[in-house]
């Protein structure tokens, strides 16, 4: 054991894994909001165009500024990702570069430039281009963010369920691009992720709008956004449960070891129970403190009371670690249940009865970042569930890692972590600063939504003066 700990290869591998996990976890937070938020902005814009109701424009203006902030964070953390493959995972590109390269290349070509070029027109072009062109620009940014999701999920799904290639001298060569791109798990993973993005954005919008209502924002636009987000969540949450179920069945077919870890099944059994809670123990290959519903896991996964499910012990040397997957899966599902409940109550009170009871507003505020929790937990299930492979059955993670001295990686990891912590604090606090500003702005002047002034100053009724100052600057 001591020998392992001092081996530079092993610690470089662990540090590289932590760094990659940190980078991609931090990155995914922002696209997860923005992929769906962009569709919502397009909806607000079109609603305003068709109804002429200023409230839709006010909703658009408030959220487009948050979209821009989120987008900036997504871009800079995404640039970091594009370097990680070369710096920390040389074996990845050397083995499957013929597949990963073009998929990433198409993401840059068809998505990154599109969103990066039309975003400024969407943001700053509103007074420079026609209204129609502005709507087109918004639609193109939306298309760009969703296309980006498509390509990256195609690559990730290929790493989970690789098809359409052959190995020659340890290097993967493509035999059929269609099979590579539309590999067996892509449809499920893509749909699951897009719905996750929808739910994340819905609770994000609902949470911050509920905060504005709770803090006494009298404007109709805050309630309008809250209702819109709650209805969206109420539609998407049940759909997500259905799609998640299909995704699970697909995983059972192609990656049974992952499902065994999710369900905490150590040894192959018939009529496996659904574990609500347990503490998996890798040493003894068993669970402690189980709370179980008999036969339910078999019923869900095989649609038979006595259906057989494979256990971890069936996959010697190729099984993922159980505990992180087991717990992440329960966190994801648990958050999903809370989402469903919040959306249900929200529909009843906010939408149907037009009432805003403080307890429900508080609950909605508490759910603001629930999408982040569920999405991250879900990604941990699927990515840790692929271990010990980087590409299922093709390339082991340990064989792809850099041989650089671990000191260098520790240094870069410490730097990334401190920047990410700073940015996360800055991001979340800025969201609430923006919400406070929006609460105190007058309802009838759309242009003031653009101001940056301390909330304290705005209260003094000097909006006219500071607006002029801003103009001069």
């Amino acid at each position: 054991m001591l020998e392992l700990a001092t081996d530079p290869g092993v610690s470089s591998l662990m540090l590289s894994r932590i760094q990659f996990a940190a980078n991609i976890s931090f990155h995914i937070l922002f696209p997860t909001i923005n992929i769906a938020l962009c569709w919502m902005l397009l909806f607000f814009k079109v609603r305003y165009a068709t109804t002429g109701d200023d409230n839709w424009l006010r909703v658009y203006r408030f959220w487009v500024r948050i979209f821009a902030l989120t987008f900036a964070l997504g871009v800079v953390t995404g640039v970091t990702m594009s370097f990680q493959f070369g710096t920390n995972w040389p074996g990845f590109m050397e083995t499957v570069g013929n597949i990963a390269g073009p998929l990433l290349g198409y993401e840059v070509l068809t998505a990154f430039f599109l969103e990066a070029t039309f975003l400024p027109i969407m943001l700053f072009g509103i007074e420079r281009v026609s209204d129609r062109m502005h709507t087109i620009a918004t639609a193109l940014v939306t298309l760009g963010t969703s296309t980006s999701a498509f390509w990256i999920l195609s690559l990730d799904s290929w790493m989970q369920t690789p098809t359409g290639f052959e190995m020659r001298d340890g290097v993967a060569y493509v035999t059929d691009w269609w099979e590579v791109i539309f590999n067996p798990s892509l449809p499920y993973r893509l749909t699951h992720m897009l719905l996750a993005s929808g739910l994340t954005a819905a609770f994000f919008v609902a949470g911050i709008s509920a905060y504005r209502v709770y803090k006494g924002d009298p404007k109709h636009s805050a309630k309008l956004a809250l209702k819109f987000a709650i209805i969206t969540a109420a539609i998407l949450a049940p759909l997500q449960i259905l799609v998640g179920d299909f995704h699970g069945l697909n995983t059972l077919k192609y990656q049974p070891a992952k499902v065994a870890a999710m369900e905490g099944i150590w040894h192959t059994e018939k009529g496996a129970p659904l574990l609500l809670f347990a503490i998996p123990d890798a040493e003894t290959q068993s669970n402690k403190y189980e709370i179980a519903i008999p036969n339910l896991a078999s019923i869900i996964l095989t649609h038979e009371v006595d259906g057989e499910l494979q256990g971890i012990s069936d996959f010697p040397d190729a099984a993922p670690p159980v505990a992180p997957i087991f717990f992440s899966f329960r966190i994801m599902v648990g958050t999903g249940v809370l989402m469903l409940l919040t959306a249900g109550f929200g529909c009843w009170y906010f939408v149907r009865k037009n009432q805003y009871p403080p307890w429900l507003l508080k609950a909605t505020i508490a759910m603001t970042f629930s999408g982040w929790v569920a999405t991250l937990a879900g990604w941990y299930v699927t990515e840790i569930g692929r271990q010990p492979f980087l590409v299922s059955g093709v390339l082991r993670t340990a064989d792809a890692a850099t041989q650089l001295p671990s000191g260098n990686i520790a240094l870069s990891l410490a730097m990334y972590l401190s920047i990410y912590l700073l940015l996360l604090i800055a991001y979340i606090s800025t969201l609430f600063v923006m919400a406070h500003r929006a609460i105190r702005l007058e309802a009838n002047n759309l242009h003031v939504s653009d101001m940056q002034t301390d909330p304290a100053n705005i209260q003094g009724g000097i909006s006219e003066k500071s607006f002029n100052l801003e103009k001069q600057a």
Partner: protein, 333 residues
């Protein structure tokens, strides 16, 4: 084809990649230069400077992702080799780009008492990115040698690239701003023009001294007849810039685009010189373009896509520059 191993596809990809790096250096070069030049003493000028690059920086930075992406797609083994050789500078550059990128938004959205701090983060982020990019270029050019001379060359390169980015950044400001700020930018441009000229001379001389092969590539017969006109053209551009910048502001803003255009030409010339030095290597004297190339099927698959999509990208990039043409105004939304 006479030499089947000398396939044209890798050559096409190395040209595309080179073009992407060049476009990045020019476009994000001016963004980063403007960031480095942000003055500590004038909030209004800082605002205008950042407004001038606001609509463009994101797409400009995408060229870096594109260039690195092409390296990754077409030359995966070189990609790993280079990025591992540049591990720490890459991490620091990324930290710089992160700070610069988020500062754009935070400076106007976070509480205004933090605005100056985010402006400082903007400046420091830009400076970190320019210095490390120059340093990485220097390391790359010397093939990641660990000799003192090679490290000194990398430091020289860091200063040079920073001077070059400051020059193209201030040239951008001369084109996009007016009044006091334009005059101030012209002054910055004059200083950085001189610094960049000295830098190019120093880099050229030390590059020649560092390697006999390069010495022969440039000073051998008949290549030397290409070197002379190139040198003369560079000298002419420096003088032109110097003369023009001294006269800013000109009546009716005549030729405000001249410094930026000549800065771009200088960047193109330096880049071509570098590419000529390097050919046919992708890692100096270690890996050639053909050694590192991906499988032909993969290159072909992405080549077809690039041939269709790149013209579209260039077209809508031109469209954005048209929408935001003319002197900088406040960015409202």
């Amino acid at each position: 084809m006479i030499f089947p191993e000398y396939d044209w596809l890798p050559l096409a990809f190395v040209s595309l990649m080179g073009l992407a790096f060049l476009i990045y250096a020019i476009l994000d070069g001016y963004d980063l230069g403007v960031g480095v030049l942000l003055p500590r003493d004038n909030q209004a000028q800082r605002d205008s400077m950042i407004y001038s690059i606001g609509p463009f920086w994101d797409a400009n930075e995408t060229w870096l992702v594109m260039a690195i992406g092409l390296l990754l797609i077409a030359f995966p083994s070189a990609h790993s080799y280079i990025l591992q050789g540049l591990y720490l500078p890459t991490a620091i550059m990324l930290a710089g780009l992160i700070l610069r990128g988020v500062a754009f938004d935070f400076r106007t959205k976070a509480p205004s008492r933090f605005k100056q701090k985010w402006d400082l983060a903007f400046k420091l982020g830009s400076l970190l990115a320019t210095l490390t990019q120059g340093y990485m270029l220097g390391r790359y050019v010397t093939g990641f040698e660990d000799t003192q001379a090679a490290l000194a060359f990398a430091v020289l390169s860091a200063i040079c690239v920073t001077a070059g980015y400051c020059f193209i950044g201030s040239a951008w400001l001369v084109m996009k701003t007016e009044g006091e700020l334009q005059v101030r930018a012209a002054r910055w441009a004059r200083y950085s023009n001189v610094l960049m000229a000295l830098g190019i001379v120093a880099v050229s001389i030390s590059n020649l001294l560092l390697s006999d092969i390069i010495m022969d590539k440039w000073l051998g017969f008949p290549q030397v007849f290409v070197l002379l006109p190139t040198g003369l053209l560079l000298a002419f551009l420096f003088l032109l810039n110097h003369m023009y910048l001294k006269r800013v502001p000109l009546e009716n803003d005549l030729g405000c685009w001249v410094p930026f255009a000549s800065a771009s030409i200088i960047f193109v010339l330096c880049f071509c010189g570098l590419a000529y030095n390097f050919f046919p290597y992708i890692v100096w004297q270690k890996i050639t373009i053909w050694d590192a190339a991906s499988s032909r099927e993969s290159l072909w698959f992405i080549f077809v896509g690039a041939a269709v999509v790149l013209p579209v990208i260039l077209a809508y990039t031109a469209f954005t520059y048209r929408v935001f043409r003319g002197k900088t105004r406040k960015l409202n939304y």
